[in-house]
Subunit: 270 residues, 2 copies
């Protein structure tokens, strides 16, 4: 492990690519290794024991490539299993909950924060709990927006798409006038950022992948772990199921100019 | 096995309940045993070998209850594994492809038929092939409507729902003026029947679950296998994962007046 080692990012599937996008913005010269556990997605509906086992395997795979830091770009892992990574390595480890909760709390003037996510994330109450741990008087309003995930995956993402606009109107109406900051608590939601913002003008949107990437960049700098590379870093992609599908859908998160070539690995062996 | 034995229905998940609804309409006095393989859903993305193994297990579970007929209310099973059921039993067996393709072909005056389904069903081309086997001159136009599944599962089903109306407009425009009959090639789609019909006025909609239920009723009558029961039959539900979720979501397909109490079984043991 050295300054020239890659940053490791993993997720249960594709959504974690939104963290890769944020890292590329902040640290374009770093190498990145991404693992998407597409063969075992979704984690959200699995037992805690299984989630912890999978998390350790995902981290071991990244560690086998000598990564210098790990970003678990998966809400389920971040809520249930961060210590399973910390138990097997001393390198800096980041999730998509802690930094987002802190950033949202700090950004809010009224200390009234909204959280949107899948039904599982809202049921877990993880962002709400993290904010209330900071300030018992903070108010956190949560609401599930499950249709946002298929709207992203099935391509309803063009600017001004009428179906997506109406879905934002319907799901976000309860937040209007109630919060000044909203956590986009699902890796897919930042893709709909403009539509969400149009439905909630003046509300600050917090992207957990961006919060995690910022926290990682800060730590790597503080610990003098940044690469000295003077050109763009490389990104390598690994998955546990069919790579072709991943390459096609990945463009939703990274943009269509990204060339994605993924390699299949046997994650069970880690 | 006797006339008073139950009818067996299975699916990879919840969607097969649409076949239960159709059977209840046609044969209200029959007992029904439903198995939803919710612990291993979805089948569509799995290998053919795995689909065939699961299908045989699902059928064996139903046969262990002495059913007198089986309806495989799953498009993936109907396209890939019907002979795996026929190999282990002599009772009548029905899928959701054959009878729907026949019914659509017979209903069409112009012999121009549309098919909508998930991306996997459209890619498989199964309905198109079955119709073209009947008549090489028939024209079959296919289109995937993937957003319809989450629209149903996340409750966008109220009559006149604007989001669902717009999704129907967008997905179904290519069929307008092109076909006179449309196969609803996914168990979820009949829930949106009114919205689909509004987008394609004058087009005959074919519900594969209904076609299968009609074919089964006809066969049971011909083979003198109908029950003599003079009151409503009972429905028993079995699943391979958390029953509570099944009971809640099942109401989408059966209507909210249905009391659903499901029991979890170990399908791997069959």
């Amino acid at each position: 492990m050295s300054n020239e080692s890659a940053i490791g990012v993993f997720d249960s599937g594709l959504g974690g690519l939104s963290a890769v996008r944020e890292l590329k913005k902040l640290l374009p010269n770093e190498n990145i290794i991404y693992f998407g556990d597409t063969g075992r997605v979704p984690y959200g509906s699995k037992s805690r024991e299984i989630i912890r086992k999978y998390t350790a395997q995902d981290a071991k795979f990244l560690l086998s490539h000598g990564v210098k830091a790990i970003l678990a770009a998966c809400g389920t892992v971040s809520s249930n299993a961060m210590e399973c990574i910390e138990a097997i390595t001393d390198i800096p480890v980041f999730g998509v909950v802690e930094d987002a909760a802190r950033e949202a709390y700090e950004a809010s003037r009224t200390k009234r924060v909204g959280v949107i996510g899948t039904q599982a994330t809202v049921n877990s109450g993880i962002f709400k709990r993290k904010i209330e741990e900071r300030d018992a008087h903070a108010e956190v309003l949560q609401s599930a927006c499950p249709l946002f995930v298929p709207l992203v995956e099935y391509g309803f993402t063009a600017e001004g798409d009428e179906i997506t606009r109406l879905a934002c109107e319907r799901y976000l109406a309860p937040f209007r006038g109630e919060v000044d900051t909203l956590i986009l608590g699902c890796t897919h939601f930042p893709i709909l950022e403009k539509a969400i913002s149009a439905a909630l003008p003046g509300v600050t949107l917090i992207n957990p992948a961006s919060a995690a990437a910022k926290a990682m960049a800060k730590t790597l700098k503080e610990q003098d772990l940044l690469s000295a590379r003077e050109k763009n870093g490389e990104i390598r992609y690994f998955v546990s199921d069919e790579p072709a599908h991943f390459a096609a859908e990945g463009k939703i998160f990274l943009g269509k100019d990204f060339e994605i070539s993924a390699k299949k690995i046997e994650i069970d062996k880690f």
